[in-house]
Structures are given as structure tokens and as C-alpha cells.
């Protein structure tokens, strides 16, 4: 069976990872713009990063039969300097018409600060203006619960339909509220933080598969680009039906991403 990894940072991964993912059945990925592990010193750094996401990575992925799409934004970790963030945001529109750009992401909050919230709202306005999908990063660890609530409130203050917004990195204390308010939810499979494949399988058993997907969010830190097939294996070994596994790792990503009018697995 084939799968989609709808959130992975391939700029931080080796070409060997593309090969391993292809061998495991990956046919498509989407790559949100994120924090590279250091703060970039100029908006020009983001311009080059967006070129990498829209030009270099699709070619690298294509060598292994994997279709590559991306999301653009300034991430919340670099949003505390509002003036800097606004300069970066001003670059984004010239990339938005690129055929592989699905929307704005991964925007959100990190430490739940006032400036992060201002930049989140301005990027939501950008998505609203261009009628684009939104992929949301929720904060880490102790900041996740509060940040998730602030983010959902901010989205609901716009005209963006919550059905066009994916709230990522949900865990047991946030998934219920995200689904209840009509958003899509993503479970990120990390070895030491966020969800393990086992806990993601537990959440699927408790909440079902509607508007829910799994992703690896593989990046430069401890993470696993094969986390999605490992979760599929976990579900299969527990006795879940192939349809459930396919829904969570292929059909749901396909349904949500297709709302962009640009996503395809071929």
C-alpha cells in the first residue's frame, strides 16, 4: 500500500531518506516552511529557502517517484521581531502562484507571545486574501494546550473556513477540542516528544479517523522519516482494517490537500 507523508522537512534530510521512503511506499509529501535550527539573519535567507522549497526539493523528490508540494510562511520561532517577520511575509506572495505551493504554513505559535500572535494573524490574513489552505504548528510541550486554544480562536476570528485549516502536532489533551471545533488534526510521530506511533494508534482508536492524519515531521532533530509506515505497521499488527490504515495515511491527506486545487500524487 502507498502512503502520503503530509508534513516532513526534507531540506534537513539526506537523499538516502527519499529512497527509503519510496521503498516504504511513500508517493507524495508536503513540506512546510519551518525553523531551520537557527535564526536567519536576513529576509534574503528566506527568499533562498523558498526557492529551495519550490524548485530544488521537488526535483530531488521526483528522482524517487515522490511528488513534492510545499507551504510557505515565517515560522513562529522567528516571529518575535515583528518588523523582520513583516519583511519576510512581504516576499511570500511572489511565490504563491507557484504550482506546488499549497498554502500558508506551518504558521502558529511557539511561546504564545503577543508578537507571535500578531504575525500569526497577519499570515492568516494572507491566506484569507489569497484563499489558501493553512497548516498550523502548535507549540511544544507545556505551551501546546494554551497555544492550540489561542490559535483556534485566531482562526475563528477570520473568514477562513476551519475545514481548510489543519492543526498539527495534536496530542491527547488537544485532539478532542481541535476536532470538536471542526478543524482537521495532524498527529506528529516523534521518538521523544509529541506522539509515538503507539500513542497515535491509541488516539485513532479513541477518536476515529475523521479529519485526522499522521505525519513524521522529520527534520534536523531526533525524528524518523519512516514514522508513518511504522504507525501503519502498528495499526495493522493490532488488527485494524486496511481501510482504517489507508484512510489515516493516504485518503485523509489526499482529501484535505486536494482542497488546494493543486495537490496530486502523480
Amino acid at each position: 500500500m502507498t502512503y502520503i507523508d503530509p508534513h516532513i522537512h526534507m531540506v534537513s534530510r539526506t537523499t538516502d531518506d527519499y529512497e527509503r521512503m519510496a521503498l516504504a511506499g511513500c508517493v507524495a509529501i508536503t513540506e512546510p516552511a519551518f525553523w531551520a535550527g537557527f535564526d536567519r539573519s536576513s529576509p534574503q535567507g528566506f527568499f533562498d529557502y523558498y526557492r529551495q522549497l519550490t524548485d530544488t526539493e521537488p526535483k530531488r523528490a521526483a528522482q524517487y517517484g515522490i511528488n513534492h508540494h510545499c507551504w510557505l510562511c515565517i515560522n513562529p520561532k522567528e516571529a518575535e521581531d515583528v518588523g523582520f517577520a513583516r519583511e519576510v511575509i512581504s516576499i511570500i506572495p511572489e511565490f504563491l502562484d507557484h504550482p506546488t505551493v499549497l498554502g500558508i504554513g506551518e504558521i502558529g505559535l511557539n511561546k504564545n507571545s503577543k508578537n507571535e500572535l500578531i504575525i500569526l494573524e497577519e499570515q492568516l490574513a494572507l491566506a484569507e486574501k489569497h484563499n489558501r489552505l493553512v497548516l498550523v504548528h502548535t507549540p511544544h510541550l507545556e505551551d501546546k494546550l494554551k497555544g492550540t486554544m489561542l490559535i483556534m480562536d485566531a482562526v475563528e476570528n477570520t473568514s477562513i473556513n476551519v475545514d481548510r485549516v489543519l492543526i498539527d502536532h495534536v496530542e491527547e489533551h488537544t485532539v478532542g477540542a481541535v476536532l470538536e471545533r471542526g478543524f482537521w488534526a495532524g498527529m506528529t510521530l516523534y521518538p521523544n516528544s509529541k506522539c509515538t506511533p503507539q500513542r497515535a494508534a491509541d488516539i485513532i482508536e479513541m477518536y476515529g479517523t475523521e479529519r485526522l492524519w499522521i505525519n513524521s515531521a522529520g527534520d534536523w532533530g531526533p525524528s524518523d522519516p519512516l514514522a508513518v509506515p511504522k504507525c501503519r505497521h502498528e495499526l495493522a499488527s493490532r488488527g485494524h482494517h486496511a481501510e482504517t490504515i489507508d484512510t489515516i495515511s493516504y485518503k485523509n491527506p489526499l482529501d484535505f490537500l486536494s482542497k488546494s486545487g493543486r495537490f496530486s500524487v502523480e
Partner: protein
């Protein structure tokens, strides 16, 4: 304390039997339990013993493990969460510590 999500079902939803689940996962979680015990022992063997909000939170979480009700994971995540509502004035750091500095839970 945030309320347990109302969407959480009460009926059995894991396809495996109780025995199958224990057979499959017991050793893994036995090892994790020993890791926690060894970590706490390690702290006790340190030269100076200081109070730390993260360890205080960990002790509260360990108590939740002994509860009989479903939703332990969510309860523990809530103990380890900041429950304030308003955005902070300035983000002075980028990282997270894993537990709130002050908790009333």
C-alpha cells in the same frame, strides 16, 4: 484542570484482547518504568538535592498512573501544561522545558 474530552468513547476500541495487549507491550513498559525509577534514584544520588518544578510535576504525574479511570495520558499532559489564557508579553526564549513553572494542578 481541563475537563476530559467528551469525544472520548467509553466502549472498547482496541482490537486486541487484554492478554494480547499485555503480552505485546508489558516488557517495553516494564523497561520504561525502570527508567523512571533509575532516574529518580540518580537524582537522589546527586551531590546536592534541590527542588525542581519539573520533578514536582513528574511526581504529580506518577500519582495519575495509579488512578483507575480512563484518560490518564490526557490528565498527565494537562498537569504538564501551562493553563494561563493570555499571550505573554515577550518570548525571551525559544525552547520549552516540558512542565509549567507554576501549576495549581
Amino acid at each position: 484542570m481541563a475537563k476530559i474530552n467528551t469525544l472520548m468513547p467509553l466502549k472498547p476500541t482496541c482490537p486486541m484482547t487484554h492478554k494480547e495487549t499485555v503480552d505485546r507491550y508489558f516488557l517495553e513498559h516494564r523497561a520504561k518504568l525502570l527508567d523512571i525509577a533509575a532516574f529518580l534514584d540518580r537524582l537522589d544520588r546527586c551531590e546536592s538535592i534541590e527542588q525542581d518544578y519539573r520533578i514536582d510535576s513528574l511526581h504529580k504525574c506518577i500519582n495519575v498512573l495509579l488512578e483507575k479511570n480512563v484518560g490518564r495520558t490526557e490528565k498527565i499532559l494537562n498537569i504538564l501544561s501551562d493553563h494561563s489564557k493570555e499571550p505573554i508579553n515577550v518570548a525571551h526564549e525559544q525552547g520549552a522545558s516540558g512542565a509549567p513553572k507554576q501549576t495549581d494542578l
